[in-house]
Amino acid sequence: MKVAYWPGCVSRGFTPELHGSMAKVAPLLDIELIELDRASCCGAGVIAEHNQELADALNARTFALAQQTDGELMMNICSTCQGAQAECQERLDANTEYRELINRDLAEQGLRYEKGLTNKNFLWLLVEEIGLDTLKAKVKRPLTDLRVGPFYGCYIVRPAVRLRIDEEHPRDRYLHWVIEALGGTVIDYAGVYKCCGFPIITMNKDASLKQAGRHLGDAIDAEADCLVVPCPLCHLNLDLQQPAASKVVGRELGMPVLHLPQLVGLALGLNPKELGMNKHVIRPTSVIDWSTSVVAGAAA
């Protein structure tokens, strides 16, 4: 399927392995990515905090650019984008007059947002568009014996009503399902739906890293081999900041954290290096006992 693809900022900044692994995985799943390279940052809630209309206009612009492509829908690979864009879209779709007001901001660029865009994170797209059966059928190297802790973070599971999480779409179970479909074992631990702490890292570093450190520690106690995240900002606090978090909570951590496309890519037969797993601060290649797991024999 063809999708208008919004990679977000961090996947092209401090977590380039996310953007890179998505590009590698997409063709294996028959996803054609039309990158929205003139779109702007979603604002991550911070621009909305500064000026709501500005955040709504920036995202309406992104949506309008997506609607100009021939993609079936818009796809993102960042929960924070998903959440921040869903918030703006909720306002735009709920009120014609407001939408027109924002469209007037865009008019001079020749852009216009029409209500009702479908914008899905890669996780949602995997389950709802590609389907777990198709995914299973494409698995070349099942994640047998790999104990994976899902870390959903916040923006992709809350608020439930805005994100349309209901009985028909139990989107707060999708990471569990994907791990299972890839042949892995889901590890339940206290941090599954908690916050990584990233949004307050510049305001209250200690509290921010305590959150990251606690969830990583809980995952270790539950004997997870690694965590998987649908959000690069969670990855920053859980992986890039892990050594600092370890100091704050006063315990050894060393928990590898995988981006969702990396986990999928492993099971689809790609090797850790081409998925950029050597770019992580906590190198999954050196921590996971691959000999009993998925990539036995693959060059790490």
Binding site: F14, N51, E90, L101, D105, F198, M203
Partner: protein, 412 residues
């Protein structure tokens, strides 16, 4: 009639014994409340179960508990709804998969626990005084009159009252406090309920101390900038108060109206972020870090940047970051993005749409609105072709649409 397994968390701190799950089976329609089930067990089987409740109408706010991991009022949560959650973020949350009921396609276990972040007095009763009420007192939860006090009643503009109705809907049940993830890590955080209450007065034109209140809550290390955007309070609230949105409105007022440059970097971070996106279109992380502390050469930034050095060096070593990426701006914002920033940010008045107030348009309203707009556009186009293009643009000014937006908000 459906049968539910009620698992109640029992604990008496004075007994010296550990907490345990107490299981009872109730037979009740799925539209009865969780509170109905608890009271039935208490009346008929075990009179020692501790739960606080009064009105049973979702007004008094007494019966806040966690049900299958999610906080809320026991009196306005249907048994069926609680059971359907089937999983959650609480301790020992039951998993519907693999149970006998899964075959029938439904979970019938409802685990009821006391709210979190507050000490348990007994069973489902928590000590609200120790946490919730202390925090409410922290924000000076009363109106400080402007002097001199008017002789007659103070007439408040309608839009201002509408603006604070959302925070006034709070019934002080503590459900948001229960699941606040910032408070879980940092118990001193003022927290969602109290900050929503603070907006009640910051948004009230009769109050004399908007600036003082905002300065106080911005400068407090555990004030408005300690919220981590986790959205738990929004999902927890049984009354739609959206405490997190109220916190963001406090930040918006503190930063954009009062320019309070707080010591927690809240203001600097927000402004650095906005500047960063205006310039680059997408986020340039290393600049943001420096600018959030006041710029690369700011005395405050130096220790912070040195503190971040090990992280930066690891990033470089792993090839996550490159010297180019750290120092140069490779991505430039398209002119259209810059123009949006300058135009919208440059306006005198900020526009906010609060869906709690305006509500969601029904499908048919939306379609009618869309048709009307299309007709208007067609008319405008016809006029424009008859007259000059400038004249056509003048027919829709920003002011007129602003007042329409606020008029609509008067009819929630």
């Amino acid at each position: 009639m459906p049968e539910y397994t009620l698992k109640i968390r029992r604990y008496d701190p004075q007994s010296g014994e550990a907490a345990y799950w107490d299981e009872h089976t109730v037979e009740m329609p799925e539209t009865q409340s969780v509170l109905d089930a608890i009271l039935q067990v208490r009346n008929e089987i075990d009179g020692s179960i501790g739960i606080r409740c009064s009105c049973q109408q979702a007004i008094c706010g007494s019966c806040g508990v966690r049900m299958n991991g999610k906080p809320g009022l026991a009196c306005n949560t249907h048994l069926g709804e609680a059971a359907r959650r089937g999983h959650g973020t609480g301790s020992d949350a039951p998993d519907e998969r693999g149970t006998a009921n899964e075959a029938e396609g439904r979970n019938t276990i409802i685990a009821v626990e006391p709210m979190g972040n507050m000490p348990v007095i007994r069973d489902l009763i928590v000590d609200m005084d120790q946490v919730h009420w202390k925090k409410i007192q922290r924000v000076t939860p009363w109106l400080i009159n402007k002097e001199p006090v008017p002789e007659r009643e103070y007439i408040v503009p309608h839009e201002n009252m509408v603006d604070v109705t959302q925070t006034m809907a709070c019934i002080q049940c503590g459900a948001c406090v229960s699941d606040c993830l910032s408070m879980e890590i940092d118990p001193g955080f003022v927290g969602p309920a109290a900050l929503a209450k603070a907006y009640r007065f910051v948004g009230d034109p009769r109050d004399a101390e908007h600036a003082e209140r905002l300065k106080d809550l911005s400068e407090d290390e555990q004030g408005i900038y300690d919220c981590t955007h986790c959205f738990n309070c929004i999902d927890a609230c049984p009354k739609g108060v959206d405490p997190m949105s109220q916190i963001m409105r406090l930040r918006r007022k503190a930063g954009s109206d009062f320019h309070i440059n707080d010591r927690n970097n809240g203001y600097r971070h927000e402004h650095a972020f906005v500047k960063n996106i205006r310039r680059n279109g997408i986020l340039h992380e290393s600049d943001l870090l420096a600018d959030s502390y006041g710029g690369k050469f700011h005395p405050r930034a130096v220790p912070e940047l040195i503190g971040s050095l090990p992280t930066g060096i690891t990033g470089l070593a792993r090839g996550k970051m490159t010297p180019q990426k750290l120092l140069l701006h490779q991505h430039k914002a398209p002119q259209e993005v810059k123009r949006l920033f300058d135009e919208i940010d440059g306006r005198q008045e900020r526009i906010e749409l609060n869906l709690y107030v305006t509500g969601y348009e029904e499908e048919e309203d939306l379609e009618a609105g869309q048709r009307k707009l299309e007709e208007e556009r067609a008319d405008a186009a016809a006029e424009a072709s008859a007259e000059s293009p400038e004249a056509a643009a003048d027919t829709t000014t920003a002011e007129s649409s602003e007042s329409e937006t606020s008029n609509e908000s008067e009819n929630p």
